[in-house]
């Protein structure tokens, strides 16, 4: 039996998102077209299909026919679960962007350093307040009063949720996974669906007023 095929199927059925950061072997396997088709056919017999994010960074399992009423209800329920925790994650994205080395929103494959983030947060009261908000949210639920404890709890929670994997041997570096790609796509959909104005549109509205 093809071991990688079995591993890939198992990961997908365990609802894991497969990317080059979280599982390079499985990702490489699925990136080859005929192997992707093989897994897709196998999953198809169970009513699933292998989906991929637009930026090609992430594979995940989706329903073959999501229009069935019970699946649609389940998907809506899943959606509510995700959006329940969206606010602290959005705050985290902004915090990581302002405190991180690149100054850009976290992207798959990027390495974040807990030490660097902490150094920046400790020197900025605004960043510290954002961290307090995130750590005290239901999503992280940290009891720590120290920035280090709060940051650690937040990163651990994000690791649990599959957004980061530990990188290197120091225990203070983490690699962003492809789940961020999926989240950005989800947020883009929500933005369109809920008609949330972005910077330019907001400015235009202000000018009109």
């Amino acid at each position: 039996m093809d071991d990688t095929f079995a591993l890939v199927c198992q990961l997908l059925l365990d609802n894991k998102m497969i990317c080059s950061s979280s599982n390079a072997g499985a990702f490489d396997y699925l990136s080859v077209e005929h192997q992707h088709e093989k897994v897709d056919q196998h999953m198809g017999r169970m009513g699933y299909r292998v989906a991929r994010t637009h930026d090609q960074n992430t594979f995940y399992l989706s329903y073959l026919d999501a229009s069935q009423p019970h699946l649609a209800n389940r998907i809506k329920s899943q959606f509510r679960h995700v959006v329940n925790d969206l606010e602290p994650i959005v705050k985290w994205l902004r915090l990581a962007m302002s405190a991180g080395a690149t100054g850009r929103p976290v992207s798959p494959g990027e390495i974040i350093s807990e030490i660097e983030l902490l150094a920046s947060i400790e020197h900025s009261s605004a960043q510290l307040q954002t961290l307090v908000d995130i750590a005290s949210s239901r999503f992280v639920n940290s009891k720590s009063k120290e920035p280090k404890g709060m940051l650690n709890a937040t990163i651990n929670r994000l690791c649990e949720q599959g957004y980061f994997v530990p990188a290197g041997n120091t225990g203070t570096q983490y690699k962003a996974t492809g789940k961020w790609s999926w989240l950005y796509e989800l947020m883009t959909f929500i933005q369109m669906h809920m008609a949330l104005p972005d910077d330019d549109e907001q400015q235009n509205q202000m000018e009109l007023m």
Binding site: L13, D14, N15, Y48, A51, Y60, L61, S62, Y63, A66, S67, A72, N73, R74, I75, K76, S77, Q78, F79, R80, H81, V83, N84, L86, E87, V90, K91, L93, R94, M97, A101, T102, G103, R104, P105, S107, W182, Y184, E185, L186, M187, T188, F189, I190, Q191, H193, M194, L196, P197, D198, D199, D200, Q202
Partner: protein
Amino acid sequence: MSAEHDAQAAISALYNHRQTIVRAHINDRGTIPDSEDTNAAITALKSHRLVWFHPEDEAAQLNGFLSQLLDHTLRNFRRQMASEIISGILENLQNHLVVDYLEAKKRCLQQDQERLKTEITGCIYDLIDRLIQSVTVFAQYLSSGFTYVSDLELRMRENQRVIRMGEKLNDVIKEFDMEELDHLAGNDEDLRRLLSRTLPRYIERAQTELVNTLHQLTALLNSTREGAKRSRLIGAFERAYANDKGFEPSIDGLVNIPRILNWVQNQTVLPWVNSGDASAELVLAGYCQGLVKAPKTDDEPEGTPVTIEDATELPSLELRPDPIVSAADDLIQCVLIDGLKTTASKSLIASEIDCPMSLWMGVLMNCIHSLSSEKRGRLKVTFIEENDFLYPDNYSVYDIVIGPNL
């Protein structure tokens, strides 16, 4: 007479339609736009075979020879525009030093010859040095990631500016005509060594590095552009949450589920033992060893009774262990010690206890909560749940998956 006439007519055609031709070469990559104004130019050039027609859209395209001629005339202009210092050194080298050196050599002016040779050598090494420096500067820009510019829009502008500078330098490097340098060196051994071997080698190396750096700078620009887009997206959500404290995205009214929402979650697949599989017999036998129970007798209750001594000096009570709690404890021990992974429903069937599922799940959770935090941490508990149809904030738990927390 005919050949002379044809050539003159071709040059006249070029002169008469010079504006159209030059515009096409500089602005439209050699394509002459099809319009009433350009019809005469296209017809005249076609009669001298100075244009060809693209097979897909029939657009008139300047002939290769004509493009080469125009390229040649624009070469000096490009050099000056691209990088004046390098261009100036090259100009000095090609048009003065080498020419003077060959003249001095021809006239056997030994002293001038030596001086010019030293100058040419210095000039070439200066050129090489500047080329290396210029390429290094772009590599430094790349390694900085332009993080010295904090605003992403301004960072993109800076990145674009550097790419344009790099492209200009690349234009200059491309303008180095190796054949011309080789021709200039003639038969002079020293000049050949410098102009035909050393300089071309460095030019080639610099160009390879520069092109590679430019590709990476372009990739960085795309990535920053993506970052800026995502930053705007994050900003839109920040504003939504700031403006409306109860903001919660909803898709309740959606009829068709879009691709991005279609993902599978909480569909844990649990393997179940195939007792008919002979190859698994040995493994199963090992698992079953610890599960053998003594037959129950009605007069001998299971478990050791616990005596409760009451400080109020009332008669002491004897509590018999609850079989449901005992079964739940046993199950948790199996998970902790043997690494068993199972569900509440399957374990309830296996334990043969007469107890409703809801009570069994409650007892299981109570037993788990009563464990020490170290033991609790070794367990992974997943609820199989769904939102209530009428009250979506409530969850109906159908089953519990219990296993070791690996």
